[in-house]
Amino acid sequence: MGEIIRETISAGDMDPTFIEKIEKAGADRIRTCLSCGTCSSVCPSGRRTAFRTRELIRKALLGLREDVLSSPDLWLCATCLTCLERCPRQIKITDAIIIMRNMAVKEGFMLPQHRKSAQKLLQTGHAVPLDDANRDMRRELGIPEIPPTVHSSEEALAQVKEIMRLTGFDTLVEGEGTGAKQE
């Protein structure tokens, strides 16, 4: 017979301030969760992966900060907002996930592909900047070759960059981005 491995949560793994921080940041009804699983049952990502929204929320409530923030599952939510609509306790589940993602990024857990989009925003003011092919297509279609966005105004781009500096986005997303367990 194989050895049965029991996962035991020790008190040391639990951080009671974790849920307070999530609550304060905007998921104010999260403590009313009754683990009914409605969120998991409507989740499109949960249909095809082991991601369980109910489990994530439960772990957050238990204060399993490290476990939650380092888990790649945190990034499986497509923010479709269906769970938020259906939650019988009206918990802003998607907001809670975004709050936890912000915490994860602050601690260095960021997927390399995500860091790339963030760095593009930092450099160009767009997470998806204009490429040559689309520039050619714009010309061919007879619409302004360079859209009248930050792409055609250095002053506007400087403004956007300054905002990202003021909010600390530049230091947050710099580096290569191999967030610990995410690899």
């Binding site: 095809r48 497509a78 609509e85 975004i98 995500h114 997470a127 619409i143 009248p148 003021l166 947050l172």
Partner: protein, 283 residues
């Protein structure tokens, strides 16, 4: 939209003026920024940049109009946050002040579908000169157009019909298919980091639409549009057969076609999944 789908932008620039809607450029706008990725990294940066775009509209004396559910979600949520939380508004105002911008959060953001729908179905019907009779459409609303429902202008009902009505005014038929309100799978950073999960969600929708006999998809979001355009080739490659070839049409392209515009004026010749066979039925 301008950086990814200039062909869809072209259709917006052609069709809205023909409906009597005059467009003014939002000079110097940046990424909205994306509600899935950027908001997940730094909510404060996301709110500040979204508010800057809104401040630019406010300065111009207009509401923002967008053709993308992602941008729509960002602007709607960004407005709600500063309306509900005075301290957040103050923070944003201070950031914007230091770059020389004033912001009162007195503007609104609208999806172009909301603006088109406000014209009314009957007046729209009068514009149709090339009815798309017999065309079966899989209507894809997308998530952020509808949810959170409390922060959206639609009637508070479970299953919306406004986009179906707008599709059917063109003479096309909106087919009933399973899980119509399911996500496309692209949002929340999933497309960027978990491609297999992301395209499997899209596959489920495509299968459901095809099973219902849809001839094409109609969407109203640049990210859903990307997802359906790109993932079909990915799925075919995986399968080793050409199973998925459902044309992905943005709403103003469909409407424009039924209003008699040429496909080239609507960017319909610039699709990843060819629209030719569909166009041949009506030209």
């Amino acid at each position: 939209m301008p950086n990814r789908y200039p062909n869809v932008e072209k259709s917006i620039r052609v069709v809205l003026p023909a409906l009597g809607i005059e467009l003014e450029e939002l000079e110097g706008a940046s990424c909205c920024p994306a509600p899935g990725v950027i908001r997940s990294f730094s909510e404060r940066t996301w709110l500040a940049l979204a508010s800057r775009n809104l401040a630019l509209a406010e300065r111009a004396g207009h509401d923002i109009i967008t053709g993308c559910n992602g941008c729509y979600g960002t602007f709607k949520e960004a407005l709600n946050i500063v309306h509900e939380k005075p301290d957040r508004l103050k923070d944003v105002q201070q950031i914007l002040k230091s770059v020389g911008l004033k912001y009162e959060a007195g503007v609104d953001a609208k999806h172009l579908i909301e603006v088109i729908y406000s014209i009314g179905i009957d007046p729209l019907r009068k514009k149709i000169t090339r009815p798309l009779t017999g065309l079966k459409v899989g209507v894809h609303y997308g998530c952020h157009l509808l949810r959170p429902s409390k922060l959206r202008p639609w009637h508070q009902i479970q299953k919306q019909t406004f986009l179906d009505e707008l599709v059917e005014v063109t003479g096309a038929e909106s087919v009933k298919y399973k899980d119509k309100f399911l996500c496309c799978g692209a949002g929340g950073g999933v497309r960027g980091s978990n491609v297999p999960v992301s395209i499997d969600i899209a596959r489920e929708k495509l299968d459901n639409m095809m099973e219902a006999g849809a001839d094409c998809i109609v969407d109203v979001c640049s990210f859903c549009h990307l997802q359906f355009e790109v993932c079909q080739a990915e799925l075919n490659k995986e399968l080793g057969e050409n199973k998925y070839h459902l044309p992905v049409i943005y709403y103003t392209q469909l409407l424009g076609l039924s209003m008699g515009f040429e496909p080239q004026d609507l960017g319909l010749h610039k699709h990843v999944v060819s629209t030719q066979a569909l166009l041949d039925r009506f030209l």
